[in-house]
């Protein structure tokens, strides 16, 4: 009796040691029955909190609609706030998630510097990293484990320049915020617009914290261009559009064109009247006419107290779709290289329309739509009226 007992104990201890050793050797070769842990790092407080809220809500909606198990594994979404300001914080959170929590996949990343800081962690740990919001061209080149589900700024800017050149707009002044994405937008617009035969007479850059756009807009008014191209971070759009209207630029024959960041669906109703009639280019509008999008918008607003999904939210939603489908393909195995391989070339119909992952660059390929702000039943929407199919990132 005693002996059997001790041998059973010995067997138990050996197997425990073996498990521990196996775990030590390869922490992520988890059993199929283990939960699939996804580490979602987002700015949930601070100036970029809206981005984080939208993406988190979209990820949770995806799980609610598609079940919380995939390929036999329970999905465990771990959400952490990085405040959006400090790249080293994002990196530290990613390290903790990989080392201590054994997450199989990292996701989120509100801004470019945060994605840059985390890229080495993904490479070293061989953990796929889904970039849902940060929009600088070069991000996927920073690690072979990065796959982008959001958009790139040049990708949505180039179509605006081409559309303007084709639509009797000859002379443009550009106004961008003086930081990385703003400079990207300016560069892409100036290049593409010149190729289309137009000329940019002046390129203005405003400081990141600019309480007053008056002097810049006055300069634009005096320059009398056919159109003003604007790129500012989404929260600043309200101030620019208001002062544009207040200063009477539209009455003096200047059109405002911009990327969809300025006319963020989340803020469009608070911008209100001054936005009416403005033409913009972007990959997602909550007014996109498709059954997939209708179901998405209805579900999103219902689950979030009427908050309207914006362009960042689809980055989160499609990011979750990528993860689910890739894990299905690998049969539940969470091997980083296999998951990234499964994501390459994947194509599907998102709420935003058809999209795919470029197998060569791991970046997103999608339709870019030209939209105009219209008012319908007391709300303002970006209504799509033209599109450019399958736009690849043109590079910055």
């Amino acid at each position: 009796m005693k002996r059997r007992n001790s041998s059973a104990r010995r067997r138990f201890i050996t197997s425990l040691a073996a498990t521990a050793a196996a775990a030590a050797w390869s922490p992520r070769s988890a059993f199929a029955a283990d939960p699939l842990r996804i580490g979602l790092i987002l700015p949930l407080t601070g100036p970029f909190a809206s981005t984080g809220r939208q993406i988190e809500a979209a990820c949770r909606l995806y799980i609610a609609r598609n079940g919380d198990t995939v390929a036999g594994r329970k999905v465990d979404l771990m959400v952490k706030d990085d405040t959006g300001l400090a790249p080293e914080t994002t990196k530290r959170i990613a390290q903790e998630m990989v080392v201590q929590e054994h997450v199989a996949i990292l996701a989120g990343f509100g801004l470019t510097p945060l994605a840059f800081a985390t890229a080495p962690v993904a490479t070293e740990a061989k953990v796929p990293m889904i970039v849902m919001a940060a929009a600088t061209s070069v991000i996927p080149q920073r690690s072979p484990f990065i796959v982008r589900s959001g958009f790139t700024l040049p990708q949505v800017t180039a179509p605006m320049a081409e559309w303007a050149a084709k639509n009797k707009i000859k002379k443009v002044v550009t106004l961008v915020t003086d930081y990385g994405p703003g400079l990207d937008a300016e560069k892409t617009f100036v290049k593409r617009f010149a190729e289309g035969g137009g000329s940019v007479s002046d390129s203005l850059r405003t400081p990141l914290r600019s309480p007053d756009y008056a002097p810049f807009l006055q300069r634009v008014k005096d320059a009398k261009p056919d159109a003003l191209f604007v790129f500012v971070p989404s929260g600043e759009g309200t101030a620019v559009l208001k002062q544009f209207a207040e200063r009477g630029l539209r009455e003096s024959g200047i059109n405002l064109i911009c990327t969809g960041d300025v006319l963020d669906d989340d803020l469009l109703d608070t911008i209100g009247q001054p936005a009416l009639g403005i033409v913009s280019s972007h990959h997602y509008s909550a007014a996109h006419p498709s059954p997939e999008n209708k179901a998405y918008v209805d579900g999103f607003m219902k689950a979030n107290g009427g908050m309207r999904p914006n362009f960042h939210s689809v980055g989160g939603y499609d990011g979750m779709h990528l993860i689910y489908e890739a894990v299905k393909k690998t049969g539940g195995a969470a091997d980083g290289e296999k998951i990234v391989a499964a994501m390459k070339g994947m194509a599907w119909t998102s709420p935003r329309g058809p999209m795919s992952i470029d197998p060569a660059t791991r970046d997103v390929i999608q339709n870019v739509y030209i939209r105009k702000v219209e008012s319908r039943d007391g709300h303002y929407w970006n209504v799509e009226f033209d599109k450019i199919d399958n736009v690849k990132d043109p590079g910055a």
Binding site: T45, G248, G272
Partner: protein, 283 residues
Amino acid sequence: MLGNLVGVLFDGIAYGSLLFIISIGLSVTMGLMNFVNLAHGAFAMLGGYACVIMMSRLGVPFLVSLPIAFMVSAAAGIVLERLLYRRLYRATHLDQVLFSIGLVFMSIAATTYFFGSQQQPVQLPEFLRGQVHILGLDLGTYRIFLIAVVLAITLALTWLIERTRFGAEIRASVDNQQAAAGLGINVYRVFSLTFALGSGLAGLGGGLGIDPTFPLKYMVYFLLVVAVGGAGTIKGPLLAALILGVFDVAGKYYVPQIGSFVIYVVMVVMLLLFPHGLVGRRA
């Protein structure tokens, strides 16, 4: 070209007026009470939110909401002064700075929690929108309104501090607390009211486009105005705000490449020329 110049001057003065409204309260608390209150912007933000909520949820007209915003901020000023600020009057400036910057972060977190992080737009009434055409110039109606408000505030404050009994009590309490108390002036009450006045003026400035980062976003600007103008006076910050406003707008209009630095260059030059502020308060 000349038309441009007049337009730039007008925009600059209007912008300077805005800077003056948000800074004058700080000049009052810092100069008259010798308290470095970095949380000044938090009071401005409170007034701003009061404005927005009254207009959007209760349908109060804009012009009525401004004085109420003043009162809300002033009331909050009295409460916080009694509870917290009073304990730090004799503390070092470093303690005051640490304490008030802590208040700033608390106020940012609290407003984000209650109102979300997005900007709350102030819907201006019809008569303040658009532009009027005077002598071939397009002048923003709202900017004319700002300038008028500043004129009114300046006159009222100067009268209050220079000509009324309460003004005399403030000046006496600041110059020599003990002597003032000995003469029967209730120094604590005077400080409470002065603090409320400063906070209330901040509230007026806040009713102009507001989000939770407001106290940090504008901190640089109101410190700049008070540093250049000299704390404790009304003329000093007024002059400083107008000069900074005009140079900022002119810089951004004529040399947009370096426009955002002009205001700081002006600050450095002014501080070199007038190290004690444009209008120093006699000690």
